[in-house]
């Protein structure tokens, strides 16, 4: 244990995902040794992101405006919605430059272990969009792991009465992984080969 402020910093850093106690300590001492100006820049980046960035009122993607860039773009196809877990998945799919539809960001996947159920995800918002919009196809692009699959199954069943075309990304994505780690070519193929879900 270190004294007051240092230990505080270590504890806070340790709360970040993927940062264990050892890394937290390393980061803390790095910051201690860093130039004041560098640390100030980091602090203002943190403050700014909390002040300026919020979530798109339509799709839940990160955005600096009320609606995100994709939702504001009139050229995007409103008939197709691609459902993803996180904003970073939107970035991965946009990088591929093939998908011209719109997104819906759930904010995670169903995972009882972490206490995440359907009510904790932006599923009600999705249902509202589906009932209002001229949507004809829903692409379920949740992660290719168990929780992502379970979330996709759940959604497919939920929207079944609406009679939409519901598709799931083709296999070929590294199973068990995160969507964001798939390279553009693999992701492009998975989109192209997406298959209808039947229940």
């Amino acid at each position: 244990m270190y004294e007051g402020a240092v230990q505080n910093l270590i504890d806070e850093l340790g709360r970040l995902p993927g940062v264990g106690p050892k890394s937290a300590q390393r980061l803390a001492f790095h910051l201690l040794a860093a130039e004041t100006a560098d640390v100030k820049r980091l602090v203002s980046a943190l403050t700014e992101v909390k002040e300026r960035v919020r979530f798109c009122a339509v799709c839940g993607n990160v955005s600096e405006e009320n609606e995100c860039r994709v939702c504001r773009d009139p050229k995007r196809d409103s008939a197709v919605i691609c459902v993803v877990e996180e904003s970073k998945d939107v970035v991965a799919i946009e990088r591929m430059r093939e998908f011209r539809g719109r997104y819906h960001v759930l904010g995670g996947a169903i995972s009882p272990i972490e206490g995440v159920g359907p009510d904790d995800l932006r599923i009600k918002e999705l249902m509202t969009r589906l009932s209002n919009d001229e949507v004809t196809e829903l692409i379920l692009a949740t992660d290719p792991n168990l929780e992502g699959e379970a979330t996709a199954t759940y959604l497919a069943r939920l929207v079944k009465p609406l009679g939409l075309k519901v598709t799931r990304l083709a296999s070929g994505l590294p199973v068990g992984g995160d969507l964001e780690y798939a390279d553009e070519v693999t992701l492009g193929r998975a989109f192209e080969g997406r298959r209808s879900l039947e229940f």
Binding site: L146, E149, A150
Partner: protein, 377 residues
């Protein structure tokens, strides 16, 4: 196949050790607590990515060290493969195969195959169903590594489903409806992965049966014959017929899940599926667990391992045979017959506290294990 090199760093009691091994028989002799089992445990870990002694990895890392490293070279015919495993408790382990990083450790499964006999094997007969499920699953994975994926998918589904049942049974009315709406989804995944695992185990048991009977008859003339019966928790005890195909088993699991749902919700835990199944062992028509003598139980346990060895060998390549400190447990007759059974395997690694316990035909190249050092005599 055989292991030609084994190198450990911060594994169990070993800060550093490097062994060169040959095909044929090697014997590790040293007093208790000197590190014999630690050595062969490491070889077993390379084959199965798990220890036969502990369920999690933390005890494998030497006290005070951050990670353990096992490096093993495996020779198969005229080819050699080098596996390197980094064990990081609490974090993801890492694996390299021939210097190239594997996306996940599971990719090295199947490169080395071992069959390990240990004093704990008696619990295959006398212990809980979990011991026997593990025996079957380890063998399944050794034969076809894709079952490692099936098993871990199943375990993950089970964890999620149990968490859900627990929160539903804790009964916060508001959450309960939301929880129940997703239970069907988990049922589906449980039935899919569960059926595949059960189908694999059933096929394996059918193949094991004649081999176990044969090994048992060779080890002893008392008791028997051994009869294996796989008991599905999803099928009533008195059911006339248990389907063996994966698609039918999906249906069987679904209807069992429907029937036990109320009970599962009350108790907050998954009550049907391969995690509740058992491999029942009989001697003729009596359950071995209650009726077998110590000698019969040992013969049974050895027969199960030997049958596993025969199965893997029939797939085309001798697995490395490891006999860790088992001779001290056996009488002279069983020692001799076991030795006769295994001595022609491509590589046999034997450990014993007392060299005299090891039958003559298994003496081979002698290594002395003493205070974390291993020396060839």
């Amino acid at each position: 196949m055989y292991v030609s090199h084994l190198q450990l760093a911060d594994y169990r009691s070993y800060p550093q050790v490097h062994l060169e091994l040959e095909p044929g028989i090697s014997t590790f002799v040293g007093a208790n607590g000197q590190g014999k089992t630690n050595l062969v445990e490491a070889i077993g870990y390379v084959a199965s990515l798990g220890s036969h002694r502990v369920a999690n990895d933390a005890p494998l890392v030497r006290k005070g060290a951050e990670r353990a490293i096992i490096r093993a070279a495996v020779v198969k015919g005229d080819r050699q493969a080098v596996i390197e495993l980094e064990i990081n408790p609490g974090k993801a382990n890492r694996a390299r195969l021939n210097r190239a990083p594997a996306t996940r450790p599971r990719e090295v499964l199947g490169v080395l195959r071992t069959v390990l006999f240990a004093p704990e094997d008696l619990s295959l007969v006398k212990g809980d169903p979990g011991e026997r499920r593990r025996f079957l699953d380890d063998l399944l994975v050794a034969r076809s590594p894709r079952f490692a994926g099936v098993r871990s998918d199943y375990e993950r589904v089970l964890k999620q489903r149990n968490a859900l049942l627990k929160s539903a049974s804790a009964g916060l009315a508001k959450r309960r409806d939301a929880d129940l709406s997703t239970l069907d989804v988990w049922d589906e995944h449980l039935a899919e992965a569960g059926a595949e695992l059960i189908a694999g185990r059933l096929a394996l048991v059918a193949e094991l049966q004649p081999l176990v009977a044969k090994s048992y008859a060779e080890l002893t003339s008392v008791g028997g014959p051994p009869v294996l019966q796989y008991r599905c928790s999803a099928v009533p005890d008195d059911a006339a017929h248990v389907p063996t195909g994966s698609p039918q088993l999906v249906d069987v699991l679904h209807s069992a899940l429907r029937e036990s749902r109320e009970q599962e919700l009350q108790r907050g835990i998954s009550l049907v599926g391969p995690h509740r199944d058992d491999l029942r062992l009989y001697l003729d028509d009596l359950p071995a667990k209650g009726y077998a003598s110590q000698g019969e139980a040992w013969s049974y346990a050895l027969s199960l391992r030997l049958a596993g060895f025969e199965l893997l060998r029939a797939d085309g390549d001798d697995p490395v045979l490891i006999l860790d400190d088992v001779f001290a447990e056996l009488d002279a007759g069983r020692r001799r017959r076991l030795a006769g059974h295994v001595r022609h395997a491509e590589q046999v690694l034997v450990s014993a506290a007392v060299a005299a316990d090891v039958p003559d035909e298994l003496q081979g190249t002698r290594f002395r294990v003493h205070e974390g050092g291993v020396e060839r005599e």
